[in-house]
Structures are given as structure tokens and as C-alpha cells.
């Protein structure tokens, strides 16, 4: 910065824009002002700059009144589930998916509280519908074995129940076997009609439990100690197989709802509210 009171034209024109904005120090402002008072060329340049600035403003074409946001901008401003046009259908169904998932969860919890037969029977019937060949062969084999040694059934169930966590298929086979046993036994025939429909199985089984059907109740008591162990350990395995895509019948909609719920939750995660609503 020069302290010479006499600035040259080059220096003044270099500082002219800062001078016009008042960005110079007091000393520099004073020096530029002093030079301008003595130099026509620099004064003409200053006038040209000011005039040009004025014409730039007045020569602007008249624009339309921007009173609102365009539809495209509004669509961008809307909450995330409005922005994703491709997922509109999923988002509309989202509450229903959650409701369906909640129903399924409650149903599972309800079934989990029931004895093993009511819980496993209905599901195994539906499950077997998708995998008839393998499980039925094994079931028939186990049935033959169990008919020959009915007393070994509870032990067998207990052993298989303890390993059900690692071998869910065996647990279901054990359930199948228990089911086959009851169907074959006279006592089970009292609730045999109840077993004919997988949906009605748990409800009918509960009714039979409360009803004075001692034979059926004995069957339940007979299987209950093992069913407690098997039932709890079967939860994880049975849940895995129950909600597998291979499940058919009554559980197909459940698997679809569960899958859709996970997809919806993923979508929700990708579109957290804070992204579009922070101001």
C-alpha cells in the first residue's frame, strides 16, 4: 500500500471498484477521491461504470410474477413418500403391511403359547403341503416306528425337541409324527375333525383342551412336557421354515407381508425425514 498522495491512473483504476463499494481504507479512499478530482480519464471511467450498472438493471426483461412454486418444485419439496413415484403403491399399502405384520406377529405369539400339537399340527399340515415327498416318507417311517413303540414317543419328542434349534426339519417331523399318532389313536379322533383344517386346528385344539375331553387332554398332557421344550426351541426353527418362500397355503400371505415389510422398512431407512425436512 502506497502512502504517496498522488496515485497514478493505473493504480486508481485498479482500485476503482473497491472505491465504489467503499472497501478501501480511509487513506486509500481519500487518495482515490483526490486523483479523480484531477483526472478526467479516470473520472470518465467511473461514470461509465456507474452508468453501465444502471442500464444493466433497467434493461432487464420483465419477468413473470414468481408467486408460487411450480408443480415440479412442489413435488421435490413433498415428503419422501410423495417423491418416490415408483413406490407410491408400496407406500399406500404400507399401513396395511404393518397391520398384516402385526397380525402375524400376534398370531405367532398366540400359537407359541399353545401346546406343541396345536401349534405344530396346523403348520406342519400346511408345511407338508409344500414338501410332501420327503417329510411324508419320514413321517410314515416314524409312524410305523412309533406304533411299534408308543412308549418311546415322549422320549423321542424330547430328544428331537432339544435338537430342534439346530434341526428345525426334525422338529417338524416329530410334530408330524405326533400328529399322525393322534390321528391314528382313538383319543385323537374326538378332535380329529378339528385337525382336518389347519386354520381351525389351534382353535379347535384349544376348545378340546377346555372341554371335558379327557382322552384328548391326556394326549396333550402326554405331549406337554416335551412340547414345552420342543415348542420353545421349535420357535426359531419353525419360524424360519414357516416364513420361508416355500411355505404355501395360509402362510403365503404372511411371507409376502413380511417380505414387503422389510422392503418398506428399508425404503423408509433410505428416506429419513431429516433429508427433506431440514431447514
Amino acid at each position: 500500500m502506497t502512502t504517496d498522495p498522488e496515485m497514478d491512473c493505473a493504480r486508481v483504476q485498479d482500485l476503482l471498484d473497491d472505491y465504489r463499494r467503499g472497501s478501501l481504507t480511509d487513506a486509500e479512499q481519500s487518495q482515490v477521491r483526490s486523483h479523480l478530482g484531477q483526472c478526467e480519464e479516470c473520472t470518465a471511467e467511473l461514470h461509465f461504470c456507474n452508468a453501465l450498472a444502471g442500464h444493466l438493471q433497467t434493461s432487464l426483461p420483465a419477468g413473470p410474477a414468481m408467486e408460487g412454486l411450480s408443480p415440479a418444485v412442489l413435488a421435490a419439496v413433498r415428503p419422501p413418500h410423495h417423491k418416490l413415484a415408483n413406490n407410491d403403491k408400496k407406500m399406500v399399502l404400507l399401513p396395511w403391511m404393518f397391520a398384516a405384520a402385526a397380525i402375524i406377529i400376534f398370531a405367532v405369539a398366540f400359537y407359541n403359547n399353545l401346546p406343541q400339537e396345536k401349534f405344530g399340527g396346523g403348520d406342519t399340515v400346511a408345511f407338508n403341503a409344500s414338501r410332501p415327498s420327503v417329510s411324508r416318507n419320514e413321517t410314515l417311517l416314524k409312524e410305523r416306528q412309533s406304533e411299534e413303540q408308543p412308549a418311546a414317543l415322549p422320549d423321542l419328542l424330547l430328544q428331537q425337541g432339544e435338537t430342534a434349534r439346530a434341526e428345525p426339519t426334525r422338529e417338524l417331523i416329530a410334530s408330524d409324527k405326533a400328529l399322525e399318532m393322534r390321528i391314528a389313536s382313538p383319543a385323537a379322533n374326538e378332535s380329529g375333525v378339528a385337525w382336518s383344517s389347519p386354520r381351525n386346528a389351534p382353535v379347535a385344539a384349544r376348545k378340546s383342551e377346555s372341554a371335558p375331553a379327557h382322552a384328548a387332554k391326556d394326549d396333550l398332557d402326554f405331549a406337554r412336557p416335551s412340547s414345552k421344550v420342543a415348542g420353545k426351541s421349535a420357535t426359531a426353527g419353525a419360524n424360519v421354515s414357516r416364513y420361508s418362500p416355500a411355505t404355501t397355503g395360509a402362510l403365503t400371505s404372511a411371507s409376502i407381508s413380511t417380505t414387503s415389510t422389510s422392503m418398506a422398512s428399508t425404503t423408509t431407512t433410505l428416506n429419513t425425514p431429516k433429508d427433506g425436512q431440514r431447514q
Partner: protein, 182 residues
């Protein structure tokens, strides 16, 4: 976010119109700019940087819009009067001869024509400095260049404007006489 957009939109449109000198281009650029603001505003952490961030977004958008419209840049400063008159002004409904424009005092039309011939950096520096009343350093921050570079672009812009206006029959003194009160 919607309230913020309504607040910002008029100013954004004004800046874009200043840079583009064309209502159609400015409207297109405004829509794109608003969508970019909505999309990228959550990433701005320091509120103090918001004005510069907005201006930078708008100037970049104006440059993109201008390149998309692909208007051939004609350097009228090197043309003779006949050729320059054949160049239609972007905002005029019909080509205006420089002599007639000067006589009818339609300096504004010629101003827009001359501005459209500037390079992107020259036009951006000139518009931001003169129309937004920003300081040299503020313009430098927005354009992400040095203060010295801003002064250079301003100098070049005014030089080319003076040449172009002269070619269209408008002298510096004409500007002074027509200078609107600011």
C-alpha cells in the same frame, strides 16, 4: 422447506434473469435451481455460508442453462454496423438496427445484446458485482477465484461492453446521458 423455497424463489429468479437476460431461460434455470436447492440444502452445515452457496448454485445453473440453450455467441465488438444490426437481440421481437436503436433510445435492448456476447466469467463477474452490489471479495468467493481474477474479468467485461456498444452506435456519453438514477 416449502416456506424457504417461497422465500428464496423471487431473489433467485432475479439473479438468474440478470445473468441470462432472457425470461424463458431464466424460468427454466429457476426450476432446476430450486430443485437443486431442495436437494442439497440439507448438506449446508454453516448458515453463514448459505448466501454464497446459493449464489454459486445460481451462477452455475445459469451457465448450464446457457450452454444448453446453445445460443451462438457472436462477438459484435468485431463486427461492422451492418453485420451487427443483423444480429437479433435476444429479447427483442425483431432485429433492431443500431442507429434506430440509438435514436429510439432503446439502449436496454442493445445492452442485453452486448451482455450476451460476453464470456460466462465476464458476464457473471459483471452481473454479480454491478447488479447484486457485492464486493470484489464476495464475488471471488462465489466464483471460487481470486480477487485479482475478479478484477481482471470485470475489466475485460467492461472493455468488451464498450466495444460492442460502440459498434451498435452507442457511445459512452450516450450511456451517461441515459444513465438512470440509482
Amino acid at each position: 422447506m416449502e416456506e424457504f423455497c417461497l422465500l428464496v424463489q423471487p431473489g433467485a429468479y432475479a439473479v438468474l434473469l440478470s445473468l441470462l437476460r432472457n425470461t424463458d431461460d431464466a424460468s427454466d434455470a429457476l426450476q432446476d435451481s430450486m430443485i437443486r436447492i431442495i436437494r442439497f440444502l440439507p448438506r449446508v452445515r454453516d448458515v453463514g455460508t448459505l448466501p454464497g452457496w446459493l449464489m454459486r448454485l445460481l451462477t452455475n445453473q445459469a451457465a448450464d442453462t446457457r450452454s444448453r440453450s446453445a445460443v451462438p455467441v457472436v462477438d459484435i465488438s468485431t463486427m461492422d454496423e451492418g453485420a451487427a444490426s443483423a444480429t437479433a437481440a435476444p429479447t427483442a421481437s425483431q432485429p433492431l438496427s443500431p442507429r434506430r436503436a440509438a435514436e429510439s433510445n432503446e439502449v436496454g435492448v442493445i445492452i442485453n445484446q452486448a451482455v450476451s456476447t460476453l464470456s460466462d466469467r465476464q458476464r457473471t463477474a459483471l452481473v454479480l458485482f454491478e447488479m447484486e452490489s457485492l464486493s470484489i471479495h464476495e464475488v471471488a468467493t462465489i466464483m471460487e477465484i481470486t480477487d485479482g481474477a475478479v478484477k481482471f474479468h470485470l475489466h475485460e467485461a467492461r472493455k468488451n461492453m464498450r466495444k460492442g456498444l460502440l459498434n451498435l452506435g452507442v457511445t459512452g456519453s450516450d450511456l451517461y446521458e441515459e444513465a438512470p438514477s440509482r
